[in-house]
């Protein structure tokens, strides 16, 4: 009897230790040192290895440098991308799995019902539909097909040989297993990027604004051309093409929306790139810099790699899960990207015939809808079947209000179909394939024609001293302001009427000023014949970059690095003197007067140690929200006028009616609002950080941090002390900032420099998980090891992995 009880207790204990309770991983499975997390602890030491893998055609030599960046040398392209897939999976398998799961709306399968709304949203906005179309485009092209298939085979070869004990720690924590990598997963990664960089629309808030204020006010407060303007293609550049006829504006109908809070689009994503030609560089050859800004996470969004075969030798940043280098250089050229943010996502109000929603009104007759049933598997529950209605425009993301979650997605209207560039067939991998092999300007231009979305400002420099920049993607041919507001889905004139020919995308080669640059600002001046968008990011960073470059005669890699870390605020430069003019120091108390002195003597740099930066930042935000109090409505999601428009109001129209605060009997002016916002923001700073002084340092006031991709406590950096803000070149704020900094000196022998916040390994138990973080935080770059051949001697090579077929 005793024996029976004892055995029963033991079995119960084993069962309990093998089972996942809520969010707690199975304790025995996770903690035991044989197969649990202890086994994920890696030594810093690197060993030489030799592996035999199915499916390789020849021998592949992979050399690892002191950052454990792989330098892959293969005898043919198939083996090259196979090895890239294999080695990327070895370092980043869980990240690849979770990112594709997120895009495909399959998170609930592994984390349960808490991810259901996220999954439903991704399904309903057509991420699968888009990825399937994207895959079709890729598979039609022999190069892309080879890339994607070989890469997927490499990933799967790694997965097939992976023992449970060696699963990445996140699989053990969440208690699930890796699954076979499908070629469509590569497409999901592109859809992920499109969602991040080209998946927003202001149309909901803008449509409400229009209803409240009328078109006159809208044209005044939301102009198509900014006040402070510094277009990417230098103003006055001539367009050497005959444009297609522009579609006529439709007899527009403004759709109705109701009942939710608008997501405020926080200006913040702040990528930069620039290049000078030999006339402005110390050694007479071009230098190119790029720092794409994204949400910063561990593992990092980027994975560094050198790829070499008889057809290519390229170095740069890749996206784990996607073959090829996205931003980088080879012996002849270098290229980089920032986001364009063209309007490639529009909403169409749909009129259904009846509640069955089988038909909708379009082109003066009833048309059939199609319905797609999404099966969402949920861990620990029965699957959910969700029907999504499609019109010819695309999916009706929410066809009734009950489908919409209470929180979030406030920029998504109810009852409207989504037309989005990410739903179209495309072949971005071919663009990367060609760019990686590019030798000159002609190759660059050819590669760009294959890149649809998310549209990027592709900057370029080569050793022949050509420099260029092209806001590039597949842009719909539109009438002016088409999609600024929600469109009437029954009117064919509202549909996208074709495409801007790729050769007519805005571009400039070797401009007289000797440099090219972009920082997400407006692409062109008003002479460009086509409509891309009514709003872009502010001019601040672009203007600062151009000011610095204009003054530069003998640029070096170091001067570019200094620029990447620059935190001079153009906004403060433009408006702080005007703001200070209105402050009467005699009306301030002692602490407020102290704060006034600090900000008056501030050097306009958002340095980590700056106290003035904290005051200016708080003051500006308070002022901005006080000016536009008319837009703060609980009942209706509204879109706020831009910072740019606010600056114009402050500088040119201090008597404007907008300065009057609606809730007060007095009639406020610009000066009143500045005084009131100054006092309130300083009082807030005192309340949160104590009396003016060291506690007010910008690096402490702002909350800079990098989290693990799944926000696992202990796996990120925690808060760290750093400068920068969204409107300066070093646009580092909260957990958003330069995800990769690169500077490339072209010439007879190319030399690249770069760093990203994180490390090559995705394993929190690896030294190489975050070994680049400190270098990045301190504003330094690594000299990148660009090997000419597999056998080139270098004391920076720490180990070699040889792959060959079985």
């Amino acid at each position: 009897m005793k024996a029976f009880i004892s055995i029963a207790v033991t079995l119960l204990l084993i069962w309990a230790l093998q089972t996942k309770f809520g969010d707690i991983p199975p304790v025995g499975k996770f903690l035991n040192p044989a197969t649990g997390f202890w086994n994920n602890a890696e030594s810093k030491h690197q060993n030489d290895e030799e592996l035999h893998l199915d499916g390789l055609q020849g021998k592949v030599i992979i050399r690892f440098d002191e950052r454990r960046i792989p330098h892959i040398f293969a005898e043919n392209d198939h083996d090259l991308y196979y090895a890239e897939g294999y080695i990327t999976a070895r370092d980043r398998l869980w990240q690849m799995d979770i990112q594709t799961r997120a895009a495909a709306g399959r998170l609930s399968e592994v984390v349960g019902p808490k991810a259901l709304e996220v999954d439903r949203y991704h399904r309903r906005m057509g991420m699968i539909y888009g990825a399937e179309n994207c895959l079709k485009g890729m598979m039609k092209d022999p190069e892309s097909k080879l890339l994607v298939e070989a890469y997927s085979d490499g990933v799967n070869s790694y997965i097939h040989h992976l023992k449970k004990r060696d699963y990445p720690i996140e699989f053990k924590l969440l208690d699930y297993a890796p699954e076979e990598w499908q070629p469509i997963n590569c497409a999901y990664l592109l859809k992920n990027m499109s969602e991040t960089l080209a998946g927003n629309s202001d149309a909901v808030g803008m449509t409400n604004d229009l209803k409240v204020f009328g078109i006159g006010t809208m044209n005044d407060l939301f102009p198509d051309q900014p006040f402070h303007d510094e277009p990417i293609i230098p103003a006055g550049t001539k367009w050497d093409f005959t444009p297609l006829p522009i579609p006529k504006p439709s007899a527009s109908f403004i759709a109705q929306t109701s009942g939710m809070q608008s997501k405020e689009i926080i200006p913040g994503i702040g990528s930069n790139n620039w290049a000078v030609n030999g006339s402005r560089s110390a050694n007479g050859y071009p230098i190119l810099a790029n720092d794409p800004h994204l949400n910063l996470t561990f593992p990092s969004i980027w994975y560094l790699v050198q790829l070499s075969s008889p057809t290519v030798n390229v170095y740069g940043a890749s996206l784990p899960g996607a073959p090829g280098v996205v931003i980088g250089f080879n012996q002849n050229i270098s290229w980089g990207v920032t986001n364009v943010d063209a309007d490639v996502l529009d909403w169409y109000q749909v009129k259904f015939k009846d509640n069955s929603k089988n038909e909708y009104w379009y082109n003066n007759r009833w048309n059939k809808t199609t319905k797609k049933v999404e099966e969402i598997k949920i861990r620990g529950q029965k699957p959910l079947y969700d029907t999504v209605i499609y019109t010819h425009q695309g999916p009706v993301v929410y066809d009734n209000i009950s489908q919409k979650p209470k929180e979030g997605h406030t920029d998504v209207p109810v009852g409207d179909a989504l037309r989005w560039i990410a739903h179209d067939a495309s072949d971005e991998f071919n663009a990367l394939y060609l760019m990686n092999r590019g030798k000159n300007y002609k190759d660059y231009r050819r590669a760009l024609t294959y890149f649809s979305a998310p549209a990027q400002n592709f900057i370029f420099a080569d050793k022949d001293n050509d420099i260029a920049i092209t806001p590039n993607g597949k842009f719909p041919l539109k009438f002016r302001d088409q999609g600024k507001y929600i469109l009437d889905g029954s009117d064919p004139a509202n549909d996208w009427q074709g495409w801007i020919p790729a050769s007519q995308n805005p571009t400039v080669k070797n401009p007289p000023r000797g440099f090219v640059s972009s920082a997400n600002q407006a692409s062109t001046d008003s002479t460009y014949p086509y409509y891309l968008n009514w709003r872009f990011d502010l001019y601040d960073r672009g203007k600062r970059i151009n000011d610095l470059l204009s003054a530069m005669k003998k640029a070096t890699v170091d001067s570019f690095l200094v620029m990447q870390m620059d935190n001079y605020s153009m906004r403060a430069h433009d408006i702080l003197p005007a703001m200070l003019k209105y402050i009467d120091p005699t009306k301030l108390d002692k602490e407020q007067a102290e704060a006034y002195d600090i900000v008056k003597n501030w050097d306009l740099h958002f340095a980590a140690t700056s106290e003035g930066a904290s005051i200016f930042n708080a003051w500006w935000l308070d002022f901005y929200h006080m000016v536009w109090d008319e837009f703060d409505r609980k009942d209706l999601p509204m879109h706020y006028p831009s910072y740019d428009r606010t600056e114009k109001l402050l500088l040119t129209d201090p008597g404007s009616k907008w300065f009057d605060i609606a809730g007060t009997p007095a009639k406020e002016t610009c000066g009143d609002v500045l005084m009131k916002s100054f006092v309130e923001s300083v009082n807030k700073l005192i309340k949160e950080h104590g009396l003016p002084g060291k506690n007010w340092q910008w690096g402490d006031v702002k909350n800079t941090h990098i989290n693990h991709l799944a926000n696992i406590p202990g796996f990120g950096t925690g808060k760290f002390f750093a400068g920068g803000t969204s409107s300066v070149i070093d646009a580092l704020k909260d957990d958003n900032g330069p995800s990769w900094r690169m500077v490339v000196q072209l010439g007879p022998k190319v030399q690249g420099f770069g760093i990203f916040p994180g490390g090559e390994s995705g394993n929190p138990g690896s030294y190489y998980y975050d070994d680049m973080f400190a270098t990045w935080r301190d504003g330094k770059l690594d000299k990148l090891l660009f090997l000419g051949s597999a056998n080139e001697e270098s004391n920076r090579v720490k180990s070699t992995l040889t792959l060959s077929s079985k």
């Binding site: 903690l31 040192p33 030594s43």
Partner: protein
Amino acid sequence: MLFIIILVLTIICGYFFPWWFAVVIAFSMAFMLGKKPGVTFLIGFAALFTAWTIMALLKSIPNHNALATRVAHLFQLPNWVILLIVTAFIGGLVGGMSALSGILLRKAFTK
């Protein structure tokens, strides 16, 4: 003797079988070699406690305990040593209960 056998077999088998195979080892060895139930429990406990500690340290020390520190933070433990003790204790409990079951079963047969 029993202690050494369970300890060594647990470490060796840890590289080939799932972690709960330690149950089979402690159970069968205690069945064959165990004497008094109380002492056998303690031997089983101590053997797995020690085996898991050694196995964890073999991985963790070359790692400078970086991962263990992160995971300790995740479970809101003050440091990695506590995490190691928790790990070893769970191993010990499994080992002790298995050994106890083994000896009690033999006693049930031999009565």
